[in-house]
Amino acid sequence: MSRSKKQIIAVLLGLVVLIAVIPLFAVKGAEFGGSDDAGSQMITKIRGTEYEPWFTPVMETALGGELPGEVESLLFCLQTGIGVGVIAFFMGRLVERKKWQDKQS
């Protein structure tokens, strides 16, 4: 990978971090709840009455309650971890292959 390409990627990744972090400081005191929840609040608003979901998530039925917050973040991390693991594994192989091929030629 050329040097200029690496620099572009570094700048782009920096930008990503900025976009993600700035709201945290710009909108102080906000709750940062999920927008999915905001959606269900909107349903209540439009209907005028509370909407009673007609089906409970299987996990909540099995547990007899909501998934604990900490466990939920564990599972989210697991999802991220699986993804990152796969990407990193293959990327590592590809990078090494390129090195090896460059040496050959």
Binding site: M1, K5, I8, I9, L12, L13, L15, V16, I19, A20, I22, P23, A26, V27, A30, E31, F32, G33, G34, S35, D36, D37, A38, G39, S40, M42, I43, K45, I46, R47, Y51, P53, W54, F55, T56, P57, V58, M59, E60, E66, L67, E72, L75, F76, C77, Q79, T80, I82, G83, V84, G85, V86, I87, F90, M91, R93, L94, V95, R97, K98
Partner: protein, 249 residues
């Protein structure tokens, strides 16, 4: 597509038409139990032909070139990562990205539907995020509608000879945004406003999702561009094999 595949495809389309039309016709993930049963079935049925096409498309890609499985796995993993990251947005609430743009650009929109539904099932079963009853609707918005827009925009940019990285960025960003537009529309169909009906309701739902999603869509665009740049440097043989890198000079 072989003859057998074609007939299965026809069956799937017929299935979709039968069930899709029965209901009178209802965001990111619609929560479990929040869509009336008729809509759940209808959206699910509509998704079936896309998933079938996606399955065959993946099968064909892998048969033609075994090595493309590397890039396919990475595209799937990309969806896994991006849809698990909840990111704060300017509106004071959090949302997450879809990650489906990458796969759509590399493998075409139908193949991504399979990658998307895997993630959606994972989240619906383990995380109570989205849901099994709303799986059809969520699959349609995140794994079908969004990727199709990404793919379309990428193709359009290519035809217009837009810079390739810019087109990747645009495709991923707009595909992500469109996913949420479809979600709003799906919710609006199910919950039309008393005044103004479906249209007014769609505007309200969009008001919730769109401003939150806009910065995230930009992030998704950037990340997709970065990963495509990296793949171009290191996985050129694979990209050529799946027909993406023909235009790479």
């Amino acid at each position: 597509m072989s003859k057998k595949e074609k007939s299965i495809m026809k069956l799937a389309v017929a299935f979709a038409l039968t069930f899709g039309m029965v209901s009178s016709a209802y965001a990111m993930h619609i929560m479990e139990g929040y869509l009336p049963a008729g809509y759940c079935i209808a959206w699910g049925a509509i998704s079936v032909p896309f998933l079938t096409a996606g399955f065959f498309s993946i099968q064909k890609k892998l048969r033609d070139n075994r090595r493309s499985i590397t890039v396919l796995a990475m595209s799937g993993a990309f969806v896994f990562v991006l849809s698990s990251l909840k990111i704060p947005s300017v509106t004071g609430s959090c949302s997450h990205m879809t990650g489906t743009g990458l796969g759509a650009i590399l493998f075409g929109p139908s193949a991504v539907s399979i990658l998307g539904i895997i993630v959606l099932i994972f989240q619906a079963v383990l995380l109570a995020h989205g849901g099994l009853t709303t799986l059809g609707a969520n699959t349609f918005s995140m794994a079908i509608a969004g990727p199709f827009v990404s793919f379309g925009i990428y193709r359009l940019c290519k035809a217009l000879k837009v810079n390739r990285m810019a087109s990747v960025f645009l495709a991923a960003t707009l595909g992500d945004l469109f996913t949420y537009c479809v979600t709003s529309f799906q919710l609006a169909l199910a919950y039309p406003s008393e005044i103004g009906g479906v249209g007014a309701s769609a505007v309200k739902f969009l008001g919730v999702f769109a401003p939150t999603q806009l910065p995230l869509a930009v992030i998704e665009g950037i990340l997709t561009t970065v990963i495509v740049m990296t793949l171009e440097s290191y996985a050129l043989p694979e990209l050529k094999a799946i027909g993406f890198a023909k235009e790479v000079k």
